[in-house]
């Protein structure tokens, strides 16, 4: 069960309140009429399926009902950060190892996957404001 930090509600919530909505940062061609069939097909149907760092769009469907982004490791299910629509990830496949070694985990300083760090008492100690 994920424990996900909603960047709009500003607190951790149970996964049940959320729904995944696929790959994040897809950009719709500005002028669809002028792109080739291949480009349009890529935009509509083709998605990345990486092993490791992936940026996904999720929606807090039973909370604030806002879409936001999650940087997640598809191999470990670890959620590395959550950020609002329109923002860029601070952790990417290119810098993930470096950032992990530096101990940088998320913008909010917490591990976001229950189970990834079972002994981590932080989640329980944190008092939501």
């Amino acid at each position: 069960m994920f424990h996900i930090f909603c960047p709009y509600c500003q607190e951790y919530r149970e996964e049940e309140e959320f729904h995944p909505s696929g790959q994040a940062h897809l950009v719709r061609p500005a002028d669809p009429a002028s792109v080739s069939d291949e480009e349009w097909g890529d935009y509509l149907f083709f998605r990345d399926n990486p092993r490791g760092i992936h940026h996904e769009m999720w929606v807090h469907r039973l909370g604030c009902r806002k879409f936001f982004n999650i940087t997640r490791d598809t191999a470990t299910y670890e959620i590395l950060e959550t950020y609002r629509m329109g923002e860029q990830p601070s952790i990417t496949a290119a810098n993930a190892e470096v950032r992990r070694e530096q101990g940088v985990q998320t913008a909010d300083g917490g591990w976001q996957t229950v189970g990834a760090q079972p002994e981590n008492s932080r989640l329980n100690e944190e008092t939501p404001s």
Binding site: Y8, C9, Q10, E11, R13, E14, E16, E17, L62, G63, C64, R65, K66, T127, P128
Partner: protein, 226 residues
């Protein structure tokens, strides 16, 4: 049934009063009418149980959308309370019968006593004029259940995924969350009371869930007769 043409409230939209009034010959039915027929809901009052659930039907529910600054000005002028700007905020007026709740960064839920929402909507529309906003009367789609009693929090712990501990759901907080596989707006207007805003079509289901989950404590569901 009173109506307001768009010219009367600032030219934004036509509105109408969803409370037909006694002279219209229509008897409003609470979303818990079926539960009442089934004997799951009793009249208000009676012996004290450990948990008391009271339905507050027919309240005026308005959803306001738009920029916080614009809406705040209008809401303060018309309701006398400021718009909660912080996430999950819930504010009540001095009487405690009108509330404004943060729903998302550009959305607030206003709940006022039955029959006030039509005039309020018109006044807000007139005041907001050409600003970029939306007001929707959602009173027909949801109803409010009040939960009180010493075991109310324990009952919620079995029913919602949200942390209802004192440090999680503080007074003046309202959250959207999961309640018994359906959605709910869970509010904490005061120390001794919780409020559940549930979908109209799920009201009977929620009451049946509450009765079942509350059986070990003793629980009664009441609704004022109309």
């Amino acid at each position: 049934m009173s109506e307001a043409r768009s010219e009367d409230n600032g030219g934004n939209a036509a509105t109408f009063d969803t409370h037909p009034g006694a002279d219209a010959g229509v008897t409003p039915e609470s979303p818990l009418q079926w539960s009442r027929v089934q004997g799951r809901v009793t009249e208000e009052g009676g012996a004290a149980e450990q948990i008391r659930v009271v339905e507050r039907p027919f309240l005026g529910h308005l959803v306001l959308r738009g920029g916080a600054i614009t809406l705040d000005e209008a809401v303060r002028a018309e309701l006398g309370v400021s718009l909660p700007g912080k996430p999950l905020g819930l504010v009540l007026d001095a009487e405690g019968s009108r509330s404004v709740q943060w729903v998302s960064p550009d959305e607030w839920l206003v709940i006022v006593p039955a029959g006030e929402e039509f005039e309020l909507e018109n006044r807000l529309r007139a005041r907001l004029g050409d600003a970029h906003f939306a007001i929707v009367n959602v009173g027909g789609g949801q109803t409010l259940l009040e939960l009180s009693g010493e075991k109310a929090r324990e009952l919620l712990m079995k029913s919602v995924t949200y942390d209802v501990h004192e440090h999680g759901l503080t007074v003046g907080k309202a959250v959207g969350t999961v309640f018994a596989k359906t959605s709910v707006v869970l509010r904490r207007p005061s120390e001794e009371r919780f409020e559940l805003v549930v979908r109209r079509s799920f009201a009977d289901y929620c009451v049946r869930w509450l009765r079942d989950a509350g059986r070990e404590y003793g629980l009664r569901v009441e609704s004022a007769s109309h």
